[in-house]
Each structure stands twice: as C-alpha cells, then as structure tokens.
C-alpha cells in the first residue's frame, strides 16, 4: 500500500469498509489479500480506504481506471455472493452500498468527480454481499469464503482496464492486523 506516491498512479484498487464492523471489513480485507497475492505495476495504487465518505473523491481524481471493493446489500443476493458493477450500474442506483456509516459515499463521490470533470472513465465495483455487520473484528464464514472470488474479480477488472498483474510465488502474508489478537509489530 502506498501513500504519498499513490497520486502518481493511473489506476487504483480501493477497499472500502470499517474493519471494526464484521463483514464490512471485506473491502479492506480483499485489497490486502489481493496485494499479497499479486504484484501490479507502479502505476497501480492499492489503498485500504476505510470509510472515507466524500473524501473518496480525492482518491479517484484523475485516474484512468478505478476498482472499488465494498460490502453490498442486494434485494436478492445471499451473503458471500460476489457481484461486479460498472460505473453506469453504480450511478443507476443499482446495489445499495448501504450497510454502514460510510454511505452515502461511493455514488456521491463519483458524482462530485464527474461534475469536476476528473472522474475515472472506467470504474468497477466488486461488491460482496454482506451477512452480519455486528460490531467486532471478524468476518462471517460465508463472507470469508468469498475472499478468493473477490480477489480474482479485482484481478479481472484490472485486466479489463489493460493492467497486467503478476502472481507472487509464494504469496506474501496479507496484513490483516485487526484480526490478530496481540501486539502489532511497529
């Protein structure tokens, strides 16, 4: 995950969600697992975005392509289902990215970027249907089981934007620090 260098990136993968709220952690989890399994070029910023609200606009300004990973709620979906939406689908209301306090966020952030003329031309939302968003640092088994599929959906979305990724062999351990019970290395 890069910080200050991220603004030089042309593409970004942003995980949205609160790691303290059960399945809402799926966005940050997926981007961290993605980064541990795949190397993307210097022009791809992988960001654990937390629940940035409107600040999300700043993270998408001027990008050529954006992949957002978030917990979603759909009328028909079951927990752990992975669904991919394009920009039109997101702006057409479509899924309610509405589980937690960071909503309204994604749609409004894109609309702000559109109005300013700096919205990424291509945006994909990799949504994972959440089960429980009870307070606490754990995913439900159904949503944990969706990590592999969501990571592959992120890779495919990047590929669709013409961005190549290289599989790490062996993969790095993903930095899911909030799931660890004890002291974090500094």
């Amino acid at each position: 995950m890069r910080g200050e260098g991220a603004r030089l990136a042309r593409f970004s993968v942003i995980g949205i969600g609160n790691v303290l709220e059960g399945d809402d952690a799926i966005g940050p989890t997926v981007v961290r697992v993605f980064e541990s399994r795949y190397a993307a070029g210097d022009d791809v910023a992988v960001v654990d975005g937390g629940t940035p609200g409107l600040d999300l606009t700043a993270y998408m300004m001027g990008l050529e392509g954006l992949v957002v990973v978030d917990a979603i709620k759909t009328r028909t979906g079951t927990a752990g289902e992975v669904k991919v939406y394009d920009k039109k689908g997101i702006l057409n209301r479509g899924p309610m990215v509405a589980m937690s306090p960071h909503e309204p966020g994604l749609r409004e952030s894109i609309l702000h970027a559109e109005f300013q003329g700096v919205s990424p031309p291509v945006i994909n939302l990799v949504g994972v249907v959440a089960g429980s968003i009870e307070f606490g640092c754990r995913l439900t088994p159904q949503v944990r089981g969706a990590i592999d599929g969501a990571v592959e959906a992120v890779r495919a979305a990047l590929q669709g934007m013409g961005v190549a990724t290289v599989k790490r062999d062996p993969p790095l351990p993903p930095d899911l620090w909030w799931e660890r019970p004890q002291h974090l290395p500094t």
């Binding site: 790691v19 975005g49 600040d55 937690s100 968003i133």
Partner: protein, 572 residues
C-alpha cells in the same frame, strides 16, 4: 396547532442522526436529537496492548481517522506520564493542523454550503459581474471572468442533461435562499477549487503520516518518522519543502477565499446571527503543544459558562477540574441503567427499548448517544468554543482573525458584526473560518519550529513506553481539540493491558440527548426558536444542525439499527 417533523438522517457526512422537531406557529418549540447507531470500542480494545489502541481507534470513523489516532497515543502517554520529544510533537501538530484545514474546507464547501447557496440560481449570473465583485473584496486568483464563465457553462451542461449530480438533494428555489446569482456562481466556482485544495491539505497528512486515510507514523511515545535530511527514505529536506509548498497554497485559499466567502454569504443572512445559540456553555481544550513536557500550547483552552465573559482557563492536559468533572449520563440513552459517571468508571451495556414510533411522544430512552456533561452542565464544543475562549482571553492570534472576519463583513455589506453575535448558527460558520485561518498560520509556524529544531541537530522522535507499561495500574486521558471540538480518550491500563477505554467525542457533546435533569443537549437547544417556513422542507433546521458539522459515526458509541433508509424527511 403544533406539528411534528422528523429529519432522518440529517448528515451528509458519516453516521446516522435523527432530529425530531415540534413546530408551533412557524417556529421550533421543542427538539430531540438522537443517534441511531451504537458503538463500543472498549469491547474491542479490552485486553489489548495499549500501544496498539490507536490503530483500532483510527478506524472508529473514516473521516476523523487522524484525530482518533492522535488522541489515543496521547491518552496512553498521559497515563504513563511520558514526555514526548519536541520533533514528535511538532510533526503531530502539523498533521493535526493539516487535517483540520482539510476538514473545515470540506465542511463549508462540500457539506453545508448547499444550505445557503442556490446552485441552480447561479445559471442567471453574469460571470463578468461576479468576477468584478469578487476581485473587489479578495486577491484570490481563481475569480477571473474566464474561469467563472467556464464554471457556469459546466453547470449549464449538467442541468441541461437533467443531472444535478452532487447537488441533486439541494433546496433549490426555497424561499429561505437569498444570495444574488453572482454570489451563487462564485460559491460554485470555489466549491470546485476547494476539491483541489482539500486534496492538497491531505497530501501534507500523507507525506508526514506516510499514508492516508490511515496514518502509519504514530507510536505511543512519539512518531516513526526517522529524521535524516539527506536520506531519500527518511523525513528529509525535500519532503519538508513539499509540505511547505502545499501549506502555502492551502493557506492562500483559506485566507483569501474561505474566510471571504463566509463573510460574503453571512451578510446576506444577518438574521441567522440571531438564531441557533442554544447552549452557551463552551468547552475547548488547549492543543498544539510546543514542548516535550506539554506545558505550553499554541491553541488556548478554557471553559465559558452561560455566555459570560469570564473564562476558566485550562492550562494543560492534567487540569484537575476537567479530569474530575467530565461525566456521561445515560438517562435518555439506550443503555442499561440510569447513571451519570466519569468515563474511567463507565461500562457500555446496550439495552434497546424500541424505536421511537412516529406521532408519539418522545420515549424515556431515545438515543444511542450518551449525554456528556461538565460539572453537571451541557457544553457546546467546536470551533466556536475555541474561538470564544481565545478571544475572551485575548489570545493575539484569535483576536487578529476575529477582527479580520468582522472587517471583511463590514467591507462587503456595510454592517457591523460584534463578537456577541457569534453565539448563533452563522457564528459557528464564522468561527470555523476564523479557526481555519488561525490553523493555517500555526501550521506554518510549527513547520518553521520543526525545521529549526532539526537544524540544531535534534533528531529524537521517540521514547520507549515499555519500562513503565509492562507492570502497574494507570489511568490516563488524551485530549485533542479536533475539527468538531473537544475529543477525549480515557484509558485504564493494568499490567500492560487495556482494562477500560472510553471515547467522549465532540459530536457526543453537541448531539447528545437530554440528561437526568432533562437539560437538553446543544443541538436540541439550538433548534428551539428557529423559523420553519415550510414544514415539508425544513431547510432552516438543517442550517442550524449543519453549522455544528455533525459526524455521527464518531458520535455514537456504535452501529446501524436498520441502515437502509436515506435522506428521508418525514412530516408527521
């Protein structure tokens, strides 16, 4: 006949806040503020290493990440009685201040300006006239006729396509909207420029904090920014000068654009200096420490009671009165029992007694927010509290920018604003702009202090908390004068582990419900007496609530009740 209005949720930022109003004869007669989610950070932190707490508290709220991180390390440092190296204090101060600059600019232009600005009416503006108006009152370079004409054209394109985009929830054409078309156009132009400016303020946080939105450079005992002016991987001259360049740009916008816009808009709505005072007890804590022992601060703290001129000063973070007299009441909150306790003694046992049903009287327990009190009194916190404390104690920087704001209103509108008028809905906006100007000056000052201190050869950034932490019992509190006001994290540590941890956040002070003596909280009190022209579109209530800058994900000790309803304005 009295009418009941429910606004649920009201905030455009994070969190769920519900406001219930009783309107009688076109004015609010009673108001209730309730948070509809709950959060118990202590259930996650109990038993953990206190050195890790900040990484978790940083996730309480996605917008206020930095403030909860800083306050947490301060809390543990206070418990252990640590001194934190000057470099670390200054680096933290610059991060805090840059975050505040970002947050205040976003609040005005992106979250609350729509309460005053009619975006659609900007289409009637003459860009040349707007430019001439702006250039008569400000040297900001973004006000050329060409720039304003381009903004108008872009807006026209969106409206023609039937897409109001981010503005679609505005109250266009509401009778309470009163800006001339040219001022509306200037506001839209500055809204766009503010998007870029807030990003620059955030870049400062990213450079020093090594990442945003979650900074990585903190540690209990200091910071992790290795200082080496010649090393590309450390905090070096190049990074420091990048920070300075960004800061100069942000500062220019704040003083030449934000402060001027607030003065310009305020002068068209002078009656809003009369509404919205509510609770006139104020609390602000000192912040921006300038020594390792934390005895001297650049932002003054103090307590004002009942709008009086006398200020009880808070000199530092070990103020005995403050530590002993902050309590929280759960008389009207969804927790088990009916107590009023200090945060170190609190427990959080939720007990939900049911939703407030439409068209019924307020139930005994109606909010997930607790009601914090100081010495038994509700307190208003936020930029207004801080500016009033500074002004009444003759803090030179505060006095300078209060005077600048007053003379700007006078120059534009030929009306006299007095400091007493700050106790109001518009006063909160004015105070926020004043504070932002102060912060931009102080950030620059602290940048210079940091560069000078490093120049003296001091590269120290950290003291190890472990010798003290590994055994013994400690209680501590970390204070921060955050963008929304006084924030405190209270911790109890036993043998190197967290035993209790409570956050008393600014929006809890302001948005909290009534207490055991039925004293209303600041939101509730500030709404009473507000006019409501159209109960179906209670824009006036939104103005008062937004002037507090609500951020409810932080305010509430917790989580979503149903989470699916949005932007509802119910008229009951």
């Amino acid at each position: 006949m009295s009418q009941r209005i429910t606004i649920d949720p009201i905030t455009r930022i994070e969190g769920h806040l519900r406001i219930d109003l009783e309107v009688d004869g076109g004015r609010v007669s009673k108001a209730w503020s309730s948070g509809t989610m709950w959060r118990g950070i202590e259930t996650i932190l109990q038993g953990r290493d206190p050195r890790d707490a900040w990484a978790f508290t940083q996730r309480i709220c996605g917008v206020c990440t930095t403030v909860h991180a800083i306050t947490s390390v301060r809390s543990v440092e206070n418990a252990l009685g640590l001194e934190v190296p000057l470099n670390a204090q200054l680096i933290r101060n610059i991060i805090i201040s840059a975050h505040a600059l970002h947050d205040h600019v976003v609040h005005f232009y992106h979250l609350s300006a729509l309460d005053w600005v009619d975006v659609v009416a900007a289409l009637k503006a003459d860009p040349a006239k707007a430019s001439a108006l702006a250039e008569s009152i400000s040297s900001w370079p973004g006000n050329s006729t060409k720039e304003l004409a381009a903004v108008k054209a872009r807006l026209a394109g969106f409206v023609a396509a039937g897409q109001l985009g981010p503005f679609q929830n505005g109250y266009w054409g509401h009778p309470a909207m009163r800006l001339p078309p040219e001022v509306n156009l200037l506001a839209v132009a500055h809204y766009l420029q503010a998007l870029e400016i807030q990003r620059k303020a955030n870049q400062i946080v990213a450079i020093l904090g090594s990442k945003t939105p979650h900074i990585q450079n903190l540690a209990v005992g200091g910071v992790a920014n290795a200082i080496n002016l010649d090393s590309p991987s450390a905090l070096n001259m190049e990074k420091l000068y990048k920070v300075k360049d960004l800061l100069d740009e942000v500062s220019g916008f704040v003083t030449q654009c934000y402060l001027v816009d607030v003065a310009a808009v305020a002068g068209f709505y002078p009656e809003w200096f009369k509404y919205g005072a509510g609770v006139t007890n104020y609390l602000a804590v000192p912040d921006l420490p300038i020594d390792a022992k934390m005895t001297r601060f650049d932002l003054p703290g103090g307590v004002i009671m009942a709008g009086q001129a006398g200020v009880r000063k808070i000199e530092n973070w070990n103020d005995a009165f403050l530590k002993a007299n902050v309590t929280e009441s759960i008389a009207h909150s969804h927790y088990d029992g009916d107590w009023q306790r200090g945060p170190w003694e609190e427990e959080t046992v939720p007990k939900f007694t049911g939703e407030w049903k439409a068209e019924t009287a307020a139930p005994q327990k109606y909010s997930w927010v607790k009601a914090p009190r100081l010495d038994g009194k509700p307190m208003q916190v936020g930029p207004l509290a801080q500016v009033l404390v500074g002004f009444l104690t003759n803090d030179p920087l505060t006095v300078k920018w209060v005077s600048a704001a007053i003379s700007t209103v006078k120059a534009i509108h030929k009306i006299d604003v007095t400091p007493a008028m700050l106790h109001s809905t518009l006063g909160r906006h004015a105070a926020r702009a004043i504070r932002t100007a102060m912060m931009s000056e102080l950030t620059l000052k602290h940048w210079k202090m940091l560069v000078e201190n490093i120049g003296k050869g001091d590269t120290s950034i950290f003291v190890d908390p472990m010798p003290k932490l590994q055994s013994g019992s400690y209680r501590g509190v970390g204070f921060h004068e955050a963008p929304r006001g006084t924030l405190s994290h209270w911790c109890v540590i036993e043998n190197g582990k967290i035993k209790n941890y409570q956050c008393v956040v600014p929006s809890t002070w302001n948005a909290g419900p009534r207490d055991g003596h039925d004293q209303p909280g600041p939101y509730e009190a500030a709404l009473v007496g507000n006019p409501i022209a159209d109960p179906k579109l209670p824009l006036e209530a939104l103005r008062t609530i937004h002037s507090f800058d609500p951020c409810l994900a932080c305010a509430i000790h917790t989580h979503d009740a149903d989470g699916t309803e949005h932007g509802m304005v119910k008229v009951l």
